[in-house]
């Protein structure tokens, strides 16, 4: 293969909409970037911020959270909760110096294989431009990532109440 950087994206796909969307994309033989490696969760609401952080810490260049469209969540509103956590998580990552393109949330219904595929392509391109995420350097090397990390994670939970 050529020299260009191939980012690794970890995808958390909800069982009912986005995972089926990915299934459909495949069945329809829609070709898109193979850079997204997906993990199935029952609902995007299951995606714990620590999953995202772990993925980024341990080598992923980006994380995609994909769920049903707002209002179409199989579990009524799990995706909305996911969105709320996502927004706070982004705030935090921003302070840690992680570019916001690296964590994205996508809505794709079971019939929207094309939308998921396009989202993966777009994200892959964006991160290719950004280059690899070296957590140890970007976040820890940059120093006092700790100071920030703690309080905001508290905020993430506080928001849930």
């Amino acid at each position: 293969m050529n020299e260009q950087f191939e980012p690794v994206i970890v995808g958390f796909l909800c069982n009912w909409c986005s995972y089926r969307a990915a299934d459909l994309a495949g069945t329809a033989r829609i070709h898109y970037a193979p850079n997204m490696r997906d993990i199935r969760v029952m609902c995007s609401g299951r995606v714990d911020p620590q999953f995202v952080l772990k993925a980024l810490r341990e080598g992923a260049d980006g994380v995609m959270i994909a769920g049903c469209h707002p209002g179409e969540c199989h579990y009524v509103s799990g995706n909305i909760k996911a969105l709320r956590r996502y927004i706070l998580l982004k705030k935090m990552l921003k302070q840690l110096g992680v570019e916001e393109e690296r964590v994205q949330i996508v809505w794709a219904s079971a019939s929207e294989g094309i939308i998921l595929a396009e989202a993966v392509n777009k994200m892959t391109e964006q991160i290719r431009k950004l280059g690899p995420l070296d957590w140890n350097k970007t976040v820890l090397g940059g120093g006092n990532g700790y100071g920030k990390l703690a309080p905001i994670e508290a905020e993430v939970e506080a928001e849930e109440v």
Binding site: D23, G45, R46, G78
Partner: protein, 670 residues
């Protein structure tokens, strides 16, 4: 490292996977991973031989965990779980990696595909060692069913189930069942009278011992899950005591006040203030329209009560709405459609130009029981038109309104044309269409019949309807302007009457309804089926089914078959008695729960209760649907979601990053 012995099986799926993924390499590589006892590749893992492979290895090699890398779990998870079971392994000691739909089918890049296949397989390996044995949860199915909507789909579904011996609650918003079909005159293409074929079914519903009919009622609240739903229905006050009312109709006769009937007569006719939508209404009891009732507005009149012959008197001005709680196992939604509001297209002039009619108005007009006794008349209600234009695709196939095709308009427009020919011999009829869509038994033949009846068909979407005459022939007429696309010239056709064939739209409140029943509705407001082809009846929510036009535009035969199909699905469940549900449920470690209650309002099913006494929260397994939102929310991480526990997912993450994984430096929270 754990003691588990994992068996890994990479499927070729013929060439579906093998042509882009180097399965041999993935298998050899997998064989070298920790905990992996044996790794094989095979042409078709889902074949009986493939399954036997797993079974034998479990027995002979003492496998304690199994991973199959092949297609989507939605395709074959069950298959392989049962294989494990046959081998004597708990079915949940199995994990599947999707290297077909999510890998081999999305790229031609062999290298990348193989790499991804390894990642997905490795993720499964690392995950599966953390799996715990689980038992499916048996759920009792309550044999009663709720059908929402008393149109032809709802009626069919209700009767099918009732005849099968199961009890049905049929809830209808309007005072009578019958839906839109009751308003129609003839039905295409057979032209049999709508009322004649519908009324007997309505009567059956009204009299069926297994059907509890709740008209003039609306569902307010839905709780529970497949097999055990609790539904609150608001029975709106009719101000008529159904106990004693004989439906003699004297009250209607004596009521001194009339109002325009905008619902059943589509604004073309009148009704009394105490009324029955139409003579064959089921149930027969009338309703008082309080907005227009002089007694309710000014405290005078009471004519209906005065003349009511029953003992005791059936008119009850004090009657209140009541909330009825019903227990059902399954729910069928057949809430129907709204007609497109033709006012939204100003250039067609409805509401501005008197002799522009909507399709529903015309249906009422040609109906023998309608406001004109079946006579086709202009708005003055005297003159018969000599030329009639029928405009197809009004509000359909138009991105400014609805992009989709409403499916029935072409056929009912042809029916209209036929009825004009039949009722007004010698009248000229012009049908303006974009494409003539007549797929269905006897439909195309009906079109040909209309060609022979001398209908003028103009292929071109109508641009505008105007009364601005340009030349003498147009004075005092409505001019329909369109391009005749087959000639490639603009034409202006002067006519006396214009009928707008309005499209089918989802109910204006379909979004609220879908949220009430916790199932999806698409951008247009139609309810989303579980699978567009293979499962158009079920929804993503177990125990909730959809039938008729609430799922998308449909004609009567289709709506009927969907109603029947939904009933069949439900009765098969009922006859089974109990169903096994995935044991994917959350549970709270009672010892460690700090009682912060964050999870309590996370749960969309109110499945988490808080024990004030012990100051801990607990999940009611029966109510939990396993979404895992609470698990993610628990600050002390002591809620565990079966089969999606933190360590399962976390190790899956580690596994999926096999090639890029860095040893993380210590960070708080690890």
């Amino acid at each position: 490292m754990s003691e588990e012995k994992v068996g890994v099986y990479i499927c070729h799926c013929g060439t579906n996977i093998a042509k882009t993924v180097d399965v041999e390499e993935v298998a050899t590589w997998a064989g070298e991973q920790p905990n992996v006892e044996i790794a094989r590749e095979y042409k078709f893992m889902c074949s009986s031989l493939g399954q036997d492979l797993i079974e034998e290895d479990i027995k002979e090699k003492g496998l304690t965990r199994v991973v199959v890398s092949s297609c989507s779990p939605h395709m074959h998870e069950k298959t392989f779980r049962t294989a494990c079971e046959r081998g004597g392994l708990n079915p949940f000691f199995f994990e599947m990696a999707n290297i077909r739909e999510h890998d081999s089918w999305i790229t031609d890049d062999k290298e990348a595909a193989t790499k991804k296949a390894k990642a997905l397989t490795n993720a499964a390996i690392e995950r599966v060692v953390h799996h715990q044995p689980l038992e499916p949860i048996p759920v009792e199915i309550n044999p009663n069913t709720l059908v929402v909507g008393g149109g032809i789909s709802g009626i069919t579904a209700a009767l099918e189930l009732a005849d099968a011996g199961y009890h049905v609650y049929l809830v209808e918003r309007e005072p009578s069942i019958g839906g839109h079909m009751a308003q129609l005159d003839k039905t295409f293409p057979t032209l049999d009278c709508s009322a004649c074929i519908l009324t007997p079914k309505m009567v059956d519903v009204g009299q069926h011992p297994n059907i509890t009919l709740l008209t003039y009622s609306e569902v307010e609240k839905v709780d529970g899950y497949l097999g055990n739903y609790t539904v609150a229905v608001r029975k709106k006050a009719r101000y008529v005591d159904e106990e004693h009312c004989t439906g003699c109709g004297i009250c209607i006769e004596k009521c001194p006040f009339k109002v325009i009937d905008n619902i059943f007569e589509a604004g073309l006719g009148e009704r009394k203030v105490i009324y029955r939508p139409f003579p064959q209404a089921v149930p027969k009891y009338p309703v008082i329209d309080t907005e227009n009732c002089v007694y309710f507005q000014r405290g005078k009149c009471k004519a209906c009560q005065l003349f009511c012959p029953t003992e005791p008197n059936s008119i009850d001005f004090e009657q209140k709405d009541e909330i009825i709680q019903i227990q059902v196992g399954n729910i069928i939604l057949a809430t129907g459609y709204d007609l497109f509001d033709t006012r939204r297209i100003p250039q067609y002039g409805y509401g501005r130009l008197a002799n522009v009619f909507t399709s529903l108005e015309f249906e009422r007009m040609v109906n023998a029981a309608g406001p004109t006794d079946g006579k086709i008349l202009l708005r003055d209600m005297e003159t018969a038109p000599e030329t009639v234009a029928i405009v197809h695709c009004v509000g359909s196939r138009d991105k400014n309104y609805n992009e989709y095709c409403s499916k029935v308009c072409c056929m009912y427009s042809l029916k209209f044309a036929h009825l004009v020919h039949e009722r007004l011999p010698g009248a000229e009829v012009y049908n303006f269409y974009i494409d003539m869509r007549t797929p269905g038994k006897g439909y195309e033949e009906f079109y040909h019949r209309l060609l022979e009846e001398g209908t003028h068909f103009i292929r071109g979407r109508v641009a505008e309807v105007t009364d601005a005459a340009r030349n003498p022939g147009e004075e005092g007429k409505l001019i329909v302007q369109a391009e005749d696309t087959l000639i490639g010239k603009q034409r202006r056709i002067p006519v006396d009457m214009v009928i707008l064939s309005a499209g089918i739209e989802a109910r204006s409140d379909s979004k609220e309804i879908s949220q009430l029943f916790k199932m999806g509705c698409d951008f247009d407001g139609f309810f989303i089926e579980r699978h567009p082809k293979l499962d158009p009846i079920a929804t993503m929510t177990d125990g909730i089914y959809i039938a008729g036009t609430c799922q998308g535009p449909k004609d009567i035969p289709e709506s009927v078959s969907q109603g029947a199909a939904a009933a069949a699905r439900v009765s098969s469940l009922i006859s089974r008695g109990t169903v096994m549900m995935e044991p994917i449920r959350a549970s709270i470690n009672q010892e460690e729960c700090s009682g912060c209650r964050i999870c309590n309002n996370m749960c969309p099913y109110n499945a988490i209760v808080f024990h004030e006494d012990r100051h801990v929260s607990e999940v009611i397994t029966a109510l939990c649907q396993g979404c895992g939102t609470c698990v993610a929310a628990c600050p002390s991480g002591i809620i565990s979601g079966a089969h999606f526990t933190n360590d399962q997912v976390l190790s899956e993450i580690e596994g999926i990053l096999w090639d890029v994984r860095k040893q993380p430096e210590l960070v708080p929270g690890d």
